[in-house]
Amino acid sequence: MALKTEHMVLNMGPQHPSTHGVLRLELEIEGELVNKVTPHLGYLHRCFEKHAEAMQYNQVVPYTDRLDYLASIGNNFGYALAVEKLMGIQVPERVEYIRVIMAELQRIASHLVAIGSNGADIGALTPFLYLFRDREHILSIIEETCGARMLYNYIWIGGLSHDIHPDFVRKTKEFVNYFKPTIVELDNLLSFNKIFIERTANIGILPVDTAINFGASGPTLRGSGIKFDLRRDDPYSIYDRFDFEIPVGKGLMGTVGDCWDRYNVRIREMEQSLRIIEQAVDNIPEGDVQSAIPKRIKPPKGTVYKRVENPRGELGYFIISDGTVNPFRVKVRAPSFVNLEVLGELCKGNLVADIIAILGSIDIVLGEVDR
């Protein structure tokens, strides 16, 4: 006869070192075993959508920065593409190239934080610091061009806020050369460390059909072994011109779709981003980056849904225009928001320590979850 036991409710967050911000998880635990996870959001709900309704179209760009603050360029990119699609603007080649390079640099920077904090959650602090050190290189490259370290307000509707800095191409190439060996070092230090593998392999397995049904995207979806990348499957900007692979989870250390696969997909994606940058950085055509910026941004009546592949997944902007200078409604389909929903499914029957590993491997940014 089983003893009657009571479940303990453990509140993780909003202030907790590894909830990546102000997420609150309500864990129902039995000893260390987790029976149920209920995420509570909204501790960083900053009313983006209300602000967007009160702003003019170009004034929304600084606010999009603050959604996914680790990948601001990607946010700007998606928003600019959406409004451009609504207005039918064709941007110059040079702008396209710079946008792609910037977005890929930002993708690397964002993955660095994601990988690092995933490692730090599991207890390896040193790789985290190494990765932040490398991220600093990317920030300084972007900073030289647009003047800010994190929130760039760089990609505008129809163009860019600044042309690239004269040193940009040289520094980017230097960075690519610098960064390749550090990926190898990271692999040796963390990815193939036995303890790290033990902690992440076979943990939080996400089957493909569940992932799709939950709308997961980005590395979370690709970690489950499906080749789906918007850069390839719904090409935007000029991504169809570049040659790159889509890394997917293969179950190298355990089962397909476990934490290690999601982690590994991010590292391999950084390598692919380097490839794209290498291809693009030599071919930037001449031109004026601000020539296509409309004097007055007043899109016609209509709706548009534009999605881009942000580091965390599919970032979609659903914009309704009523023909005035202010958007009528801007809804953000934030990848973290949707990916986080999987957490409840993944965590059942795992230990408390695994929750941290799983949450780290999903890689959420609370600014985007709560908007």
Partner: protein, 184 residues
């Protein structure tokens, strides 16, 4: 059983590999920038505290309208005929007294949207970022060069001027009426 020994070996081996890497880093020089003593040279496009060159400001209010945050407050008073406000450095004639030009840096989001529309390039971003304060009110920067007395004087002047003008207008209108009356 094989797996058992393989695990043991992998455990020890990967730990040693990791230790080798960190050992190498023990002797790599630090990348730290020792802030108060060493300061990085910031790039020229650096976006930090705004500065307004009031000599060039014509009080057109464009920056304030471009600001997504509404952190720029501008109040202007029209100049009266006869007053010479001078010209800006790119030759624009000033026509407004700027009595208030406040930027609240506690609200500012440093997006640079206010810089682009300025017709005289008098508002721009500098690389000054060290301006922490003990009191939040000190973060409201007042750029207007006119003192409060001067500002109120200008306001009064303008009111007087408009009043005079109104009076003149009224007089002229009355005159016109007077002139029109006999004609009809």
């Amino acid at each position: 059983m094989n797996q058992y020994f393989k695990n043991t070996w992998l455990g020890i081996y990967t730990v040693l590999v990791g230790m080798k890497i960190t050992f190498k880093h023990l002797f790599t020089p630090a990348v730290t920038i020792q802030y108060p003593e060493v300061k990085l040279k910031l790039p020229e496009r650096e976006r930090n505290r705004l500065y307004v060159n009031m000599d060039d400001c014509i009080g057109c209010d464009q920056c304030s309208r471009a600001c997504p945050v509404n952190c720029i407050e501008i109040e202007t008073v029209k100049s009266i005929t006869g007053e010479d406000l001078g010209t800006t450095s790119n030759g624009k004639k000033k026509a407004l007294w700027v009595t208030k030009f406040n930027i609240d840096f506690a609200k500012c989001c440093y997006c640079q949207l206010c810089v682009f529309p300025c017709p005289t390039d008098c508002i721009y971003m500098t690389d000054v970022f060290e301006f922490s304060e003990y009191d939040r009110n000190n973060l409201v920067y007042k750029f207007a060069t006119l003192t409060e007395e001067e500002a109120s004087e200008k306001k009064l002047n303008f009111e007087k001027f408009t009043a005079e003008k109104e009076a003149q207008k009224a007089e002229a209108a009355a005159k016109q009426k007077d002139e029109q009356k006999p004609a009809s």
